[in-house]
Symmetry: C2
Subunit: 157 residues, 2 copies
DNA sequence: TTCAGTGCAAAGGATTTGCAACACC
DNA sequence: GGTGTTGCAAATCCTTTGCACTGAA
């Protein structure tokens, strides 16, 4: 979810990244970018396509969306998320959003985002200890939320 | 890598988990379990099969290994590892090994395991904060090791 | 006008599944 | 002897690609 101004800046950035690679900003590409930027939550390529279709905004083809997604990632508009969810890769808006990690309920699938500077610091410290320069990390906590604690564990997808 | 005694205990456990599900401990299943337990590092199903074949221990079929792996995971002999490595799922020995996370060099692919009680504690704290019971987590640090810091980033698979 | 973008269909690659023959308990 | 197991091949599922046509700069 983004404000109109934020979306404009994001599209501007997208366009400039495309330019650098001598690629073009097409109508379809822009629709896909907008749909992604407006997506509230974590989406798969298939789900993004569904939104595009439902809004009648565009008749984008599945393959086209698959081709656009890596470009959106490269431009920093979206980023991969929810690695542990077995099925297909999911993404979330990254543009002008602060870094966060996720805690996922394995029973109902609820996802909560959290920010912990202590955690970030600790990770930098660990990377230092092993003489790694830290570029990124994948971090997800898995458990059961307050509503599901009593129910038996059951991995959702 | 495990001692002979550890392997015996692991096979015992495997057998009992199979029993609970009225499944059987076959020769092939045992070979697969042994190969997995002896594997030093992080393996894919395909790689595990390769070891089985090379040792001439067994003519296990790929599909059979795919069928055995979830059972080995359920019995706690192995666990999924290296989620962020795009290609296929990898596993590592879990039986009688202490919990650890990984730091991966995105340039040369080197993987270092680390243990941090502070990190574990912090994760429990965060789960508490959101009223989640913490069952598990996925955590990988990505960066470049001391040998690769100068080289440009290049994701390995 | 010239590359790049798109739709479509077909290819890929990892994993799964149906089924008949086979092996444990 | 009766189940569960295995090999094999075919089927899936997500994702990628080749190609002829369309579109943006």
């Amino acid at each position: 979810m983004n404000s109109e101004e934020s979306i404009s800046r994001a599209l501007e950035r997208f366009k400039s990244v495309l330019h650098e690679r001598s690629l073009k900003m097409s109508t379809v590409r822009e629709s896909i970018a907008r749909a992604a930027l407006n997506y509230d939550g974590h989406f798969s390529v298939e789900e993004l396509l569904r939104v595009l279709r439902s809004k009648g905004v565009s008749e984008a083809h599945l393959a086209t969306v698959y081709r656009a997604v890596p470009l959106l990632v490269e431009a920093g508009l979206i980023q991969p998320a929810l690695l542990s969810k077995g099925d297909h890769q999911r993404y979330e808006v990254a543009f002008e959003r602060e870094h966060h990690d996720h805690i996922v309920c394995t029973s109902c699938g609820r996802v909560v985002e959290f920010v912990s500077e202590a955690l970030e610091a600790l990770q930098r410290e660990i990377a230092d200890r092993y003489e790694f320069s830290l570029d990124d990390h994948v971090h997800e906590l898995l458990g059961r939320c307050s509503d599901c604690r009593d129910k038996p564990a059951a991995r959702h997808s």
